[in-house]
Amino acid sequence: MPVGLVFRDCDTVSPPLLPTAADFAMRPLLERQKYLIDYTLAALFRRKTRNLGLLLVYTLLVFLFASVLLLSQGLRREAALLLQDAPEVVVQKLIAGRHDPLPAAWLDTLRRIRGVGSARGRLWGYYYDPAVKANYTLMAAPERGLAADEIIVGAALARIRQIGVGDYLSLRATDGRPLPMKIIGILDSASELLGADLLLLSETGFRQLFQLPPAVYTDAVLTVRNPREASTVANKIALALPASRPILRAEILRTYDAVFHWREGMTFVALGSLLLAFLILAWDKAAGLSAEEKREIGILKAIGWETGDILRMKLWEGTLLSLTAFLAGYLLAWWQVFYGGARLFAPVLKGWAVLYPDFRLTPAVDLQQVLVLLAVTVLPYIVATLIPGWRAAISDPDAAMRG
């Protein structure tokens, strides 16, 4: 039996009335905090439905924010890593503001510009498949050695048409003729992010399908001798071929670096209003100490709790709830973005598209952004619980006597 709790016998010496130095000695720190957690949990569990509901909404909120954050970080990094081998310069021909086939003679002009390493014409375009109402990206792939009636398709395309190697896919040529194409391969790409909707054909096949004259290309891709002079080269191209539009790799990368940056405002405005609504709810819940809670703080002080103990207890209340919600929401977001294929965002990402890549993003974390998310979700709630607790805690404890 613990010494402090033995009922005193008449013959024992009464202890001193005043506390001794030993009473002020460092008390076991962890044990004290655990007692405060015990109390705050018991208090939270009294309004079980309400507090669990709050935890749930809080978790959902963090989940949504963290999902947007992680998805955009993942996509941005994936794009940056995959597209670092994109063409250094793409040259298009514009007519009346529109992309137009580029004459093969331009390739020679381009090759003669100082600083240009090589130039080759690309053949690519879009094809609408009425059978599944999907857009494909068609591309001539001269290096694959395809025959005129052979194609290689992207994985998402094969999935939606339910076709495989050896099957035939009938394409409708520009003059209305059906062109049966034999599938001799499916793009084996670990991530479908690049080629989900691709349909690769031979150059002959491409020209046949679109009735394209032999001396034109869709656009031209260049290599530049000195990558640092790419923009000088682009200026020279614009001078030599006034109808051209050169696009630099730096611009391509910049485009994807801005994924979720530009009008992500829209997403965040929607989420922001949600955050605001939650803050009001949380503030109301945490800040509005009920008369009962104030009375309880008075009782705690009367039975020997210090103002500091009450504040620490309130701090634990805020921390436990908001940190649990943050971590749970973040982990759920992590799981759904990087292991669940970001299914939650599929409706937004898919939009009106029929073809959608089935991709697994490689996790990418910007710790700084995670910390910002932590700060904006966790800190306000802690402050909202602490301030009213502090106001109630500095009152005199004799209120408890008066009831």
Partner: protein
């Protein structure tokens, strides 16, 4: 002392265990990210990019300017007005080509 029924697990221990577990998982996500960033092999994908001269991710296939935002006509995202909202949800995620918003050699 009379026989007690089996005591409940202490609340604080349960809560701290939960927090510790969640924190551990959080740490694991960081480790996972670091590890997979190094172990993911993109060689095949990058070879495809080099071979075909790919310029865009095949994320949004609904329109030319969302499938190939870097290659699209300067005017296609803005059929009506430069500040008009997009028809497509993906327009909310993807900005217009930088040439339209930043200083570039085209100007």
């Amino acid at each position: 002392m009379p026989l007690r029924r089996f005591p409940h697990p202490r609340k604080a221990n349960a809560a701290l265990t939960l927090l510790a577990t969640l924190s551990l998982l959080f740490g694991l996500t960081l480790a996972d990210s670091a590890w997979r960033a190094r172990s993911t092999n993109r060689a095949a994908d990058r070879a495809l990019v080099r071979e075909l001269g790919l310029t865009d991710l095949s994320l949004f296939t609904e329109a030319r300017y969302t499938r190939h935002p870097t290659q699209a006509d300067r005017h296609s995202p803005f059929q009506d007005h430069p500040a008009a909202l997009d028809h497509f949800p993906s327009g909310a995620l993807l900005p217009p080509p930088p040439g339209l918003t930043l200083y570039s050699h085209e100007e």
